[in-house]
């Protein structure tokens, strides 16, 4: 058969890429189970011991008076608060933009599209200056408020409502005696579950991974989110910063600790990723691909 080589080729290409995507993740999961020296000598994808793992955690946790826990907590706090605000703001806004009749509706829609395309990083400096003027610098609000502005969420909610919610349903609710607010709360909102999941995913992941803004607006390392914290940790790792050699010894941050720090830092996002793969596609493609 002619098809067999083609099939094999296909599988070979897919497998090669699978190795490329999977090996770094595997390495990261295994690295904290080994001592720093074993990372060099032992086979890169071998398992060390749980003892080493707990040792690595011990070192990491001790670093700078438990600051690692603080960073994770900060990240959760910033990302969850901002995502909560984002949801509370963007779902009603998307609804209003999809079904509203008020002057400026189209202008708002266009502005949202434009701002959505402007990458957040381009606005970090002016936002820094604004926050400075509002005397918010160094406060957690200086991270949460800019994070809460998520035009992509508004756009997703708008697309969802405009394509997936039949206007007849809203008319029915009005005739059934709902006020405008009741129409939203009792009909439009319960039907928004798919888009809520989608907005939550994108907003949470974006907030969790944001590095530039918190680096710019926060000065105290006790307030850092984990992303910025990791960079702090990196500069304390002697293998990447021989200048830190002596320092590395005293704080016990070596490659296994750094790998463990990285690994823990991605757990929340990994969970979100795991639960959302299917919803993500259904939401994105199903809702928006309407030709």
């Amino acid at each position: 058969m002619l098809r067999l080589p083609a099939l094999t080729l296909r599988l070979a290409i897919l497998s090669a890429f699978a190795v490329f995507f999977a090996v770094p993740v595997l390495w990261l999961i295994l690295a904290p189970t080994k001592a720093d020296s074993a990372l060099v000598t032992a086979s890169p994808l071998s398992f060390g011991s749980f003892h080493q793992l707990s040792l690595a955690w011990h070192h990491l946790d001790r670093f700078s008076d438990h600051i690692y826990r603080r960073w994770i907590y900060n990240s959760l706090y910033y990302a969850l608060s901002a995502t909560a605000i984002t949801l509370a703001v963007s779902v009603p806004a998307g609804y209003g933009l999809a079904f509203g009749k008020f002057p400026g509706r189209r202008l708002l829609l266009s502005l949202t599209l434009v701002v959505m395309i402007i990458p957040a990083a381009a606005l970090v400096l002016p936002i820094f200056l604004e926050l400075n003027a509002m005397h918010l610098l160094g406060r957690s609000l200086s991270v949460i408020l800019p994070f809460s502005f998520f035009p992509f969420g508004v756009y997703l909610a708008y697309i969802y409502y405009a394509t997936a919610l039949p206007p007849g349903l809203l008319d029915a609710a009005r005739v059934d005696g709902c006020s405008e607010v009741q129409t939203f709360v009792r009909v439009a909102l319960p039907l928004a579950k798919p888009v809520v999941a989608l907005v939550f995913f994108f907003s949470f992941v974006a907030d969790w991974n944001n590095f530039f803004l918190p680096l710019t607006v926060l000065a105290d390392s006790n307030q850092y989110p984990i992303q910025v914290g990791l960079s702090d940790l990196l500069s304390s790792t002697p293998s990447f910063n021989p200048a830190q050699g002596g320092g590395g010894q005293t704080v016990d941050i070596f490659r296994p600790e750094l790998a463990l720090a990285t690994l823990i830092a991605i757990v929340p996002v990994a969970i979100v990723f795991l639960v959302s793969q299917r919803a993500l596609v259904r939401g994105l493609v199903g809702g928006a691909v309407k030709e």
């Binding site: 029915a172 609710a173 059934d176």
Partner: protein, 394 residues
């Protein structure tokens, strides 16, 4: 329960479309009023103005004695059944039906009682726990009805509630809705473009065209005495045959010249259409219902038309025979508009010298396609319309 009244009501959409034009219509308390007309004639718009879903551009709408122009749907005390049913997908059948009552904050036991009652009337009891997507089309339709009747509103508004059902179910639901309505006696405005629904369900039927009301009458009256060419052509299936004819004096009274045939109008016809006398020597539009045409071989007497059979459709209980006669098809206003719309006046100019008619023949007829046929015309219910205005000549 209440009467509903349109008083000189117009609707102009933002883009300038005049969807309803000076509508005057009064629906009596407890009446089943059907709004019928071709697509885009403004039926839905009229209904939505009663519901409060569409602002009223001009005129007043009253429900009961209350002017409702400025009121929200909430405060109008009406229930509506939508073409798409508009069931809330996240709620069970029970919660869908209970929804308006919950919004109105009725006591729990009262809600339960009313929902059970509605479910019983509509045979929905086995499905109360299901979600709408687990129901068939007919069941969904019933839920939509249920949601309307539990409210015990002043009026029901229904916008083509049966158009998504298959033919058989539609016939059954037609009867069911009619029965429910007459049992509970709630004023109902029912929109459809299906004239069979209109004829079978309405206490009265209002025919609309391009935003304007043409005629309001009980179904039989509408069928027997259409006020103009439009209503005559719209009501009845197959549609009324329309021919150009010329009225002349002759014999004992008048004759209608249709192509090269001659229909003598006897005294009985003339006494029913006295207005015809003044049309002697003028062109008119002659309307003949298909059931007033019969294979001459099976009929006794009456004037005759000669034609050639083009198509024979046997329906079992009757045979629809399409045949061409040497006469000119009346150009109705729709055809004129169509021609204007597509910018093609050949439709008007190239009128073939042959008109195609449809007759509803007895199944015993022996006519065959492409053969000549003699058709007998029942003179008792011929319709005549002014060739210029299209108005019926009474």
């Amino acid at each position: 329960m209440a009467r509903v009244e349109f008083d000189d009501v117009s609707k102009v959409y933002d883009d300038g479309t005049r969807a309803v034009d000076r509508l005057d219509l009064e629906i009596a308390d407890g009446e089943f009023m059907v709004l019928v007309g071709p697509s885009g004639c403004g039926k839905t718009t009229a209904l939505r103005m009663v519901a409060g879903l569409e602002e009223i551009s001009d005129g007043t709408v009253r429900i009961g004695e209350r002017v409702v122009n400025g009121l929200t749907p909430k405060s109008r005390d009406i229930a509506m059944v939508f073409q798409s049913y508009a069931l809330y997908p996240h709620l069970t059948v029970r919660d869908n039906i209970a929804f308006p009552l919950k919004i109105a904050k009725l006591p729990k036991d009262e809600i339960g009682r009313r929902v059970d009652e509605a479910a019983r009337i509509l045979d929905l009891e086995p499905y109360l726990k299901r979600k709408p997507r687990q129901l068939s089309g007919g069941q969904r339709q019933r839920v939509a009805m249920g949601r309307a009747i539990v409210r015990q509103p002043a009026a029901f508004l229904m916008d083509e509630p049966l158009s998504n059902l298959d033919a058989k179910l539609r016939v059954q639901m037609r009867a069911d809705i009619k029965k429910i309505q007459s049992d509970i006696g709630t004023t109902t405005i029912y929109v459809t473009h299906d004239q069979v629904e209109a004829m079978t369900m309405g206490d009265r039927v209002a025919v609309m065209r391009k935003g304007e009301l043409q005629q309001v009458a009980p179904p039989q009256e509408l069928y027997d005495n259409p006020v103009n060419v439009f209503v005559a052509g719209f009501i009845g299936s197959p549609a009324m045959n329309m021919l150009e004819a010329r009225i002349d004096r002759g014999g004992e009274g008048l004759v209608a010249h249709v192509g090269d045939s001659e229909l003598a109008l006897d005294a009985e016809t003339l006494s029913r259409r006295p207005g015809l006398a003044s049309y002697a020597g003028r062109d008119v539009v002659l309307g003949i219902r298909p059931e007033d045409l019969e294979d001459a071989a099976l009929a006794n007497g009456g004037p005759r038309l000669r034609g050639r059979v083009e198509l024979r459709e046997a329906l079992g209980s009757e045979v629809l025979v399409h045949f061409a006669v040497a006469a000119r098809q009346a150009v109705t206003e729709e055809m004129r508009e169509l021609a204007e719309d597509i910018g093609d006046d050949r439709v008007l100019l190239d009128q073939p010298a042959e008109a195609s008619l449809v007759g509803r023949f007895s199944p015993r007829t022996q006519v065959r396609e492409n053969e000549l046929v003699e058709v007998s015309v029942d003179r008792r219910s011929l319709h005549f319309f002014d060739a210029q205005t299209g108005l019926a000549i009474g």
